[in-house]
């Protein structure tokens, strides 16, 4: 199979996501699509798989032009995409999701479906129970389901968008073996979108690099990290330096705490976080980090045990009390949990202010000052949803108190471009040097290792502490989050 993309361009508002990209892919190869966040990789792949129409350009599949903007046309042409959040139906069972979308002729509970499913799973070593509801699967399992489904539909080109985020090392190796076999034995075109160089170097036959919407390079493997990095960034990035900050007294303590979440329980542990300390939480989705982050801020009740903030008992108190004590939680979904769409920047400022009556002029001035200080591209009267993701996160930072006691952050740089991500960490580190403790999660192990003093790995409700983050490698961390606790 041969795919040719010719002069693909796409813009979203003022942003040129893809600029005149022309490239070809051939069957039997695994091709890495590299680039930093916001480089245009996902957009290009969505165009290829029909989930987005391009503004201009053509796609030829074995010489035949592909109808644009139609996922079913792409599927008919043999192109399937595994999205970062796999597109399945949570209320279905695995087998129902497998069948839904299949061409007619396979009854819902028919033998043929079950057999096909089981056979495909066995071939790749996927362990999936057909009657399990999709809502209870981990991301890795949902990926496997989608891969099996796409294969059953007869795709000849499979696109995987950031598949290794949030899966364990073990699941990753199962996946990579499957992909290798699909490409080299079956002749599929495998496109792997990733910003993880080590994955691409290990798995791919070649790689293309996107930067700021343009195709900047096509490289055969093996290539060195330095080569790829220079293509991705245009220069070699100096690693962010962190000043050494003396750690103070514990500002937050969880003592003999048991947490019970919807699907996970963390039993009987004690955690002390000291002033100025950055603790990173690593683990697969649903291993307990989210539960921990929220319990620390009083958003989830402790099943057992006590929580102290600056030696004050805070067990069972409302989140507002935690806020008053300086413990602030920030969720991954900025607009869903943290900012109010429809409210202006000034209204947000007023909302977190004091006093029963609002002095609008004063609030407007305060907002303008914050906008300036935090370099937010927006005006006090702008609605928050009109700002870009990076600016929203900056504004969210601006709403925080000056020196909080502890910041409990869920994926603080999710969806941000490099610039904004660095800025956010600058802000966080500056607060840290004034004594703020930081507890955060990130699916990006690089981020976890780069910024943490200490790392806690969560797996299935068990916690494993790495006392010195500078001593651990990404590889080891990857194995730990898969449960390989020594």
């Amino acid at each position: 199979m041969d795919i040719a993309l010719q002069h693909i361009s796409k813009h979203f508002g003022a942003v040129q996501a893809n600029q005149d990209i022309s490239v070809s892919f051939h069957g039997g190869r695994i091709i890495g699509i590299l680039g930093e966040n916001g480089a245009g990789k996902s957009t290009l792949m969505k165009i290829l798989s029909g989930f987005q129409p391009a503004d201009s350009g053509e796609i030829l599949v074995d010489g035949i032009p592909l109808k644009a903007g139609n996922p079913l046309a792409a599927l008919a042409a043999g192109i399937g995409m595994l999205q970062q959040d796999p597109l399945d139906v949570p209320s279905f069972t695995i087998i129902e999701d497998f069948i839904y979308g299949q061409p007619p002729g396979r009854r819902v509970n028919g033998r043929a479906a079950f057999t096909l499913f089981r056979e495909t799973c066995q071939r790749f070593g996927f362990d999936l129970d057909p009657d399990m509801p999709v809502s209870q699967l981990s991301i890795g399992q949902r990926q496997q389901l989608e891969i099996v489904r796409l294969l059953a539909l007869g795709v000849k080109t499979m696109i995987l968008d950031e598949p290794t985020t949030g899966i364990s090392a073990e699941q990753k190796s199962v996946l990579f073996n499957a992909l290798t076999e699909l490409a080299h034995s079956e002749g599929l075109v495998i496109l792997l979108v990733s910003h993880k160089l080590e994955d691409v170097i290990v798995l791919c036959d070649e790689a293309i690099v996107l930067r700021a919407g343009k195709l900047v390079g096509q490289v055969e493997m093996p290539a060195t990290t330095a080569q790829l990095v220079s293509l991705m960034f245009g220069q070699v990035l100096a690693p962010q330096t962190r000043s050494i900050v003396p750690l103070g007294e514990p500002s937050l303590k969880l003592e003999n705490v048991t947490l019970k979440g919807k699907r996970i329980t963390i039993e009987n542990f004690t955690l002390n976080i000291r002033r100025g300390e950055v603790v990173g939480l690593a683990g697969l989705d649903g291993s307990g980090q989210e539960l921990l982050l929220r319990s620390v801020a009083g958003l989830t009740r402790l099943h057992h045990g006590a929580v102290y903030v600056n030696d004050r008992v805070m067990t069972g108190r409302a989140y507002r009390d935690f806020m008053a004590a300086g413990v602030i939680f920030s969720a991954a979904g900025r607009l869903e949990e943290g900012l109010v769409s429809g409210l202006t920047l000034t209204e947000h400022t007023a909302l977190v202010g004091q006093g029963a009556v609002i002095q609008w002029t004063a609030e407007r001035e305060r907002t303008a000052a914050r906008i300036q200080h935090f370099n937010v591209r927006g005006k006090p009267e702008s609605r928050i949803e009109a700002l870009s993701g990076g600016n929203q996160q900056r504004f969210l930072m601006a709403l925080l108190p000056e020196t909080p006691t502890l910041l409990s952050l869920e994926q603080p740089t999710r969806g941000l471009d490099v610039d904004s991500a660095r800025y956010i960490w600058e802000q966080l580190l500056s607060r840290r040097s004034q004594g703020t403790a930081i507890l955060f999660t990130s699916p990006d192990l690089d981020e976890v290792v780069a910024y943490s003093d200490r790392i806690i790995v969560c797996y299935s409700g068990k916690l494993f502490e790495i006392a010195d983050a500078s001593r651990v490698t990404i590889d080891e961390l990857g194995r730990l989050i898969g449960g390989a606790f020594p």
């Binding site: 989930f51 987005q52 129409p53 903007g69 996922p71 079913l72 597109l87 399945d88 139906v89 949570p90 209320s91 279905f92 129902e96 069948i99 839904y100 979308g101 007619p104 819902v108 509970n109 009657d131 509801p133």
Partner: protein, 326 residues
Amino acid sequence: MNEELINILNSIVANATPLVIAGLGETITERSGVVNLSLDGSLALSAMAGFVAALGTGSVAVGMLVAMLVGAGIAAIVAIGNIELRQDQVAIGFVLTLLCADIAQFLGQDYTGLAAITLPQINVPLLSEIPIVGPILFEHSVIVYVSYVLIFIMWLGMFHTRGGLALRAVGDKPETAFARGTRVNRQRYIYTLIGGALVGLAGAAYSLAIKPGWSNPPAMRGDGWIALAIVIFGGWHPFRVVLGAYLFAALRALSSAIQRSPDIQIPFVLLNMLPWLLMIGTLMLVSGGVIDRLLNLMPRSAQKWMRNFLRSEPPAALGTRFDADG
């Protein structure tokens, strides 16, 4: 089992039937992601329209058809208002429920208290001779048998056909449905109209069978809200919705039996409040997660096929709009 008890049970089945039909109709609509809040007004208007049409043409069949068309028409307004015109389903539905009740009262003012024309009663041969069960289930107006068939078709369709998969996907995760080739909004139109037609049929079930004729205030007032609550109580599963309808009718029958009995002295006021207290109570039960906890107590193998029946979560995309862009 004595005669009177059998009669009571028989009347429970009959009285529950309109709730069953309306509940099933709304279940389909909500499974596709649309809330048809106009149910209460819709029942009234379609009941009146069906009655008037039947009187006018002398044909019950025509009456039923008209009622179904009215129900579907009202549902169409909800669907169009939501899908095409991007307005909130709840708002449109609420205005419609008031409006349709008013229209029914206004247009029906000359028809109150008129002699009724009803669907035929049939005792199903053979089946109605089964001891106990026979007289309870098989000596009814035709509409009751229609409801039996509906229950079965609904269950079969929803869980054992491809169409059912598409329906559930549309209400749960329309993005996925779209990616799998389902035309989301078209499905929503279709199922909202079907649901509306069933609501219309339920209206006809009142005015042409179970509570024949038309009165002011209408006999079925408030039942639309009960039906909406039953759908929630029923976890959007046909069997459980039907169970809810029968339970409700049974409790109503119990309440009137108590009212009539000279032995038990419970103040009327409490008994009249009972349906509403029940409605609130069952909703509290469902939201409190009691049923979910029940599911988790069961052995794994039983969970497998009970899961659909005991689920209490609404279709995840219920009440939201789907805009297929790009």
